[in-house]
Assembly symmetry: C2
Homo-oligomer: 317 residues x 2
């Protein structure tokens, strides 16, 4: 069983490749819920849905979120009714938010709901929200504290970031199945997601980070930083705010207590050699996912790196 920690559009893109390389029933996803939100009175879990849509082959590749070919007629009407529309929800996407909100109102957990929605989409992989309790990513800016979606979607990540915190994380328990999956995995992969706002909330659940340290599985991370910039989104801004260098070295540092191998882009070969000289295990490959082949090749390279790491391991971590 391969476990993938993921969130955001980078994570969904990586999953688009991985699903063609690993039988879906051998995949378990532990998904960020720190940027879940109440929207139009519904509970929306964007990262969980992106993974489900990606696994179902229904993720919009143009947008990187939502359903392929979706329409926005409900949103147009919401606009006419003076309701906020900065968070875009398509008509087909809305069905999933309605169903999730209905099931939650009936007392189901986010884990039950994710399983149920994944099943309805015919997905044999396990899609586990990181926790059944609410852990909320809060972004402190000069304009005040914002939710992740306010910062990222509503305000186009234009605010300077003072810091990021995960409200509720210290009391949060991992969702059922998460710890066992990590401890029993053959490999654990951190998707090329924002280390602060996508992977950060998952790691902020204390028992999950501990399990990553304890697991005998090889733990690999794909750097979302190439050169000294994020491939997309505010990963660089947020890493800098949290005191990490915006580089593959910064990514290694963010994960250093549990990481076995860091997968970085060819552009970072020189820096990778320095990291390796300092004792880090680094795999250099193409990490920029423009085509289906790029995505599939990256998935293969990461799996090969995990396998090599496992074979090379001579002592428990």
């Amino acid at each position: 069983m391969i476990v993938v920690l993921t969130g955001g559009t980078g994570g969904a893109k990586f999953v688009e490749g991985l699903r063609h390389v690993v039988p879906p029933e051998e995949l378990t996803f532990v998904v960020n819920t720190g940027d879940d939100l109440q929207w139009w009175g519904l509970y929306v879990s964007p990262d969980v849905d992106s993974i489900i849509y990606a696994l179902a082959g229904r993720l919009s590749k143009e947008r990187g979120w939502g359903v392929k070919g979706d329409t926005f007629y409900c949103l147009e009407t919401m606009k006419a009714l003076d309701e906020p529309i900065w968070f875009h929800v398509g008509d087909r996407d809305l069905a999933v938010h309605l169903l999730r909100s209905k099931l939650l109102a009936e007392g189901k957990t986010v884990t039950d709901v994710a399983r149920s929605i994944a099943e309805k989409f015919g997905i044999p992989s396990r899609v586990l929200p990181m926790s059944n309790s609410r852990v909320e990513t809060r972004v402190d800016t000069p304009s005040g504290e914002l939710s992740f979606q306010e910062y990222f979607v509503q305000r186009w990540y234009q605010d300077p970031v003072n810091s990021v915190r995960f409200a509720g994380s210290t009391e949060a328990e991992p969702a059922p199945g998460v710890i066992d999956a990590i401890l029993q995995a053959s490999a654990v992969i951190l998707a090329p997601s924002n280390p602060i706002s996508s992977i950060g909330p998952i790691l902020s659940v204390p028992a999950i980070r501990e399990a990553l340290v304890r697991t005998p599985a090889s733990v690999a991370a794909i750097s979302p930083i190439v050169g000294n910039n994020a491939v997309s989104g505010p990963a660089g801004i947020m890493m800098a705010a949290m005191g990490f260098p915006v580089s593959i070295g910064g990514v290694a540092q963010a994960y250093e207590d549990f990481l076995d191998v860091l997968v970085v882009d060819n552009q970072d070969k020189a820096v990778a050699q320095k990291l390796q000289a300092a004792g880090f295990h680094v795999k250099v490959t193409n990490t920029i996912m423009k085509t289906r082949d790029d995505r599939v090749n990256l998935a293969r390279a990461v799996l090969a790196a995990c396998e090599a790491e496992g074979a090379a391991a001579t002592s428990p971590k």
Copy 2:
């Protein structure tokens, strides 16, 4: 001020005519909420929405409910997710249900919400749900007790009807403004709606029926029965179940404690003469609304009948 008691598709059709004859700011609607329902986790108030759509010129004339030209992509996805879809909700219509549900969850009353939605549609008329409390139309059938929508939409009104009751009506208060509107109206019109399932719930609120008896205004009703059949829907079946003749005489009987004038179709001229001979005031005209002209002419005829009634009145009722 003219007050219209209404519900169902017959009521919305009549409103389509009335809005071209009376300035909208002089119209108050008291609307059936007995067939409101929870659907996909949302609170849906079909009769209130039909009146709002009709007044906004956005009611689908083909269907008689919902928004003109609406699409059903969310519904298609709901079907794919194995959720029930027998109650059809369009993508644009959904926006109104989302907004209403959100406002109700924030503690607003159905009256606040209807006012707010009507304002957003630019409607200067007053659209008042009959009550802020839940009064639920329940249809007793050999297969058990059904909600109105289960009976009417899900099961195509094929079940024999034993009786109809309005759960919660005896304790229900009229919504704020309803009683004053009825008492201060220049005319009160009962739309050609189902006397049992559309007008019945409104009349089941004790203070509303009392106000109709007390008001100095002329009270007119348009018969939804022509010949011995309902123009559409289960009005005939339900009247029979409740012990009323399925005829204009039955309609007169259902409203006899407060009705001043019954407006009936030309086809019922002979029966109308008998009713008149028995002391009822009856206006005979074309009540079948096929064209815009039909709707406008019916509205004019009803208003004229109310005016004549008012002029003829020599003593308070």
